[in-house]
């Protein structure tokens, strides 16, 4: 469970210009919930996702995941948390271009020191679970966008995280592929009992979540009912 209390993030840009990307955000996200976050550009969505994903520390306030206060963790402990508990899916897929699909998925198991045999086996299974069992030896450039995002999802899930964070996972895909990816994400969420937090501009995607949040000007607003 995520507990955010007065979570604030300010960036000090060039010439000391300060931007408050998140302004005293206080919410809780229970385990296993599927949450979507919408909002205008610059509203702070990616910033919030970075904090939830332990990629960055808040400027003030507290943020705990399952009782651990992420705000106070050291760099190395943040890395550990990301390696074990958090799966990421990005808008641009972010696959390593020189590695095959199989190897890309394996990279997620490297920080966990999984033995090579088991690593290969699990990566293979993960690729099969996203429907890419036949494409393990392909390079990202040899795969379509939807296939690349499937590899990315396999990479995010192979380590069996508790949380799946996705920033515009369907932003680069056509409608048909978008629906396929959404179907995949939803089935994985259900099967694995994940906490899934998904940032999107697409209302069709956002509507599928259990809870819908809106971030604008650094302020959060629950729009599930709306």
């Amino acid at each position: 469970m995520y507990t955010l209390t007065d979570l604030t993030k300010t960036y000090t840009g060039k010439r000391q210009a300060r931007v408050t990307a998140l302004d005293s955000v206080s919410i809780t996200i229970p385990d296993g919930e599927f949450v979507s976050i919408q909002g205008p550009t610059g509203g702070g969505k990616s910033t919030l996702l970075q904090l939830l994903g332990a990629l960055d520390r808040p400027t003030s306030g507290s943020l705990s995941l399952g009782g651990t206060d992420i705000a106070t963790l050291k760099e190395r402990e943040l890395g550990r948390l990301r390696a074990d508990d958090i799966g990421f899916v990005f808008q641009g897929f972010n696959l390593i271009p020189t590695l095959t699909a199989q190897e890309n998925v394996e990279t997620a198991l490297v920080p966990q020191h999984v033995a090579a045999d088991e690593r290969r086996q699990r990566a293979r299974e993960a690729l099969e679970s996203v429907g890419l069992g036949e494409r393990t030896d392909h390079l990202p450039s040899e795969l379509s966008g939807g296939q690349q995002q499937r590899v990315a999802i396999a990479r995010a899930l192979v380590k069996r995280p508790t949380v799946l964070l996705a920033d515009e996972p369907t932003g680069n895909l056509d409608e048909h592929t978008r629906d396929e990816i959404m179907a995949l994400l939803e089935s994985q969420w259900k099967d694995r009992g994940l906490t899934m937090i998904l940032v999107t501009h697409d209302s069709a995607v956002a509507r599928r979540a259990q809870r819908r949040l809106r971030l604008a000007g650094g302020h959060v607003q629950d729009i599930t009912a709306a």
Partner: protein
Amino acid sequence: MFGSYLRRELLGRRKNTIIIAAGMALAVALVMLVTSLTAGVRAAQAEALESVYGVGTDITVTTTPAAPEEGQEGEGGGGPGGAQFDFGANDGEESDGTTSLSQSMLSADRGTETFSADALTTVLGVDNVSSATATLALTNTSFDGEIPQMSEDQQEQGSAEGQGGGTPPQGGPDGAGGSSFSVDSFTVLGVDPSVSDIGPLSSVTLADGRLLTADDAGQNTAVVDSDYATTAEIAVGDTLTVGDTEVSVVGTVTSTGTDESAANVYLPLDTAQTISGLDEQISTIQVQAASSSAITQVADDIGEALPDTTVNTQEELASSVSGSLSSASALVTSLGTWLSVIVLAAAFILAILFTVSGVTRRTREFGTLKAIGWSNRRIVGQVAGESLVQSLLGAVIGLIIGAAAMLTVTAIAPSVGGSSTTENAGGMMQGGPGGGGGFGGAGMGQTADTAVTLTAPFTPSVILIAIAVAVAGGLLAGAIGGWRAAKLRPAAALGSLS
């Protein structure tokens, strides 16, 4: 994962890998070649010096020849101690209108002035001189030929022109020149036959017969250089005409020395002095100091005791005599060093720039890896490993190119001439007999040619240097690239799409 990621990366970004490896290969090959050439030149130089000065010689004592004075030239005598054939009007046998002449003479080398043998006693009296020996460098010149008889007119004319030193022989009875003669010369070195640890005899080895011994002092015995013996068809047991004396050849030797310390014929010193008429005269004293640290002091002391002589230490001679060899050495070492420093710096900068730009290009990649939990250490290790392997790949290619270059140098074996030439050309036969005026151009230069072939030896240390260079370059580029990668924020993975 480290290995397969590294391999995929190097193969996947081939252009990058090739550029870094090629730069490193060039640097490695150049450093190898320069290192090896420097070693080769040093070896050649040491060899040349050893051959010039003989084993164990620290100091040489000579007298500088006085510059020929004006007016001396026309007298037909050349420089001091110069050779001059002196044929009287009635010398030789006349028949059928030609005169047969034959004369052999032994005289001091051109460009050398002799000095009193007392100097040796003085040198031996100087502190810290462990041994010293005197030598007398001479040249034996023999003239053998027939000259057509000429009218008084022709003779006078020829004589006058002969003094000019360059006129071809002219005027036989038929008007087309009927002279036939040969001039033969060989070098003679008067040596102390009882001294063999220093001086010319220290750098000869016996080929046939026996060496000169203390018992040969004053005897008309000689040992002949084996090469000269072959050319002149002389064997042990033969007699040889030196000056006006017949000496018996007791042995042949091969010399490891060159012209400075070697000669065609070696005579006992006193015999050489008697035949040449240079009694109690010597041309060089070779001195060995008690210790290398004493050389400078000994040289100074000898200079004080013998103010009229020139005292050279081997070190001084090394710079002056080895001539182009030492400049070749300086060129190879300085130019080569600078060239390799520049190429090395360029290769390193190239590797660093490409590694850093590679990291920048892979910002999203490394950000993603950090986002999925890769530690900084692992990412730095990956970057450093990649650049190290690229550099080592360069080292392997460089080793091959470098080895090929070194083999080529050794195969071509360019010769680096180290020479101290004392040109006496044109001075030898000036003012000879009328018909022989044309000899003026027959240079009898005294060239101490110490040409040495340059090699580029391929040694394990060269390979080690090549690998060290590549490892250093790879680690440097890897460290800088890795440092850049470590600084990347994991949030870079979410950065705007470029």
